[in-house]
Subunit: 159 residues, 2 copies
């Protein structure tokens, strides 16, 4: 079962391509979002999840599950978003440990103006660069890698 110590040319090329893709694309999209909406990718994710919830409110742990963040990250981030007036914390009647995170009017306005702009950037820098076949290929690639990661429970960030 001796595995080669280094990557082949082709393997190396693929790995480097992926790293580069990720860095450049995410960097660009994140910077656009920040510049035009004043939101970070993390802000955006929180707001999207809340705005999709029927009442604009979610329990912290639900939000944590949706974003796949660890609870501490979530808590810190919510604190900063509360300071900026995008969301509010609310206590939970039925479970006194619990906390709700609630979209404020400001937060809803923010996500509603940010979303179409963001989609436009995703389209411009990602979708438009690829053929439909490539989009599908990427889905398969991603699913293959993620499936194998899922086999090992240690792959999930500690919650």
């Amino acid at each position: 079962m001796a595995r080669p110590k280094w990557l082949s040319k082709r393997e190396q090329r693929a790995w480097r391509a992926f790293i580069l893709l990720e860095r450049r694309l995410n960097g660009r999209v994140a910077r656009d979002l920040q510049r035009e909406s004043g939101l970070s990718g993390a802000d955006y994710e929180v707001l999207v999840n809340l705005s999709e919830a029927p009442t604009g409110r979610l329990r912290a742990f639900e939000l944590g599950r949706a974003t796949q963040w660890e609870k501490s990250r979530l808590s810190h981030h919510i604190t900063r978003m509360v300071d900026r007036g995008l969301v509010a914390r609310e206590s939970c009647e039925s479970d006194n440990r619990g906390a709700f995170v609630v979209l404020t009017a400001t937060g809803r306005r923010a996500i509603e103006t940010a979303a179409p702009v963001h989609v436009e950037h995703v389209r411009r820098w990602f979708i438009d660069s690829l053929t439909p076949a490539q989009l599908d290929a990427l889905v398969e690639i991603s699913e293959a890698v993620v499936a194998k990661l899922d086999d090992d429970p240690e792959s999930c960030p500690p919650s």
Copy 2:
């Protein structure tokens, strides 16, 4: 030229797949590297670049170009690495503004033990999950996206 406001099912699927892939794969590989070698991805990148330089030393701006980091990030990071003894700063004779970053013995030991372990993880979680055809497809996808990004000078992070 009216562009659709939202992504189609297929487009959304591809975008979400990419985001997920990036997060899960990078997270896992970074955590493995950190746990087994005590190096962050950023450390690793700096050390690889230095160790590939003939004399284990590079001017700061060369390192910045190689990593695509902005100079301030590089400076901060080098400071932390100096504190840990992985690299050292050295002044430049021929240009008094300049600074060299030099691999220390500790740094070389670190990268030499980390590299094969890291490669093993890349193979395990990335290469082994994909067919050669998929590796090639990913290269093409990446090149297509990055090429379009390169067309707009604003896509490069500010130096």
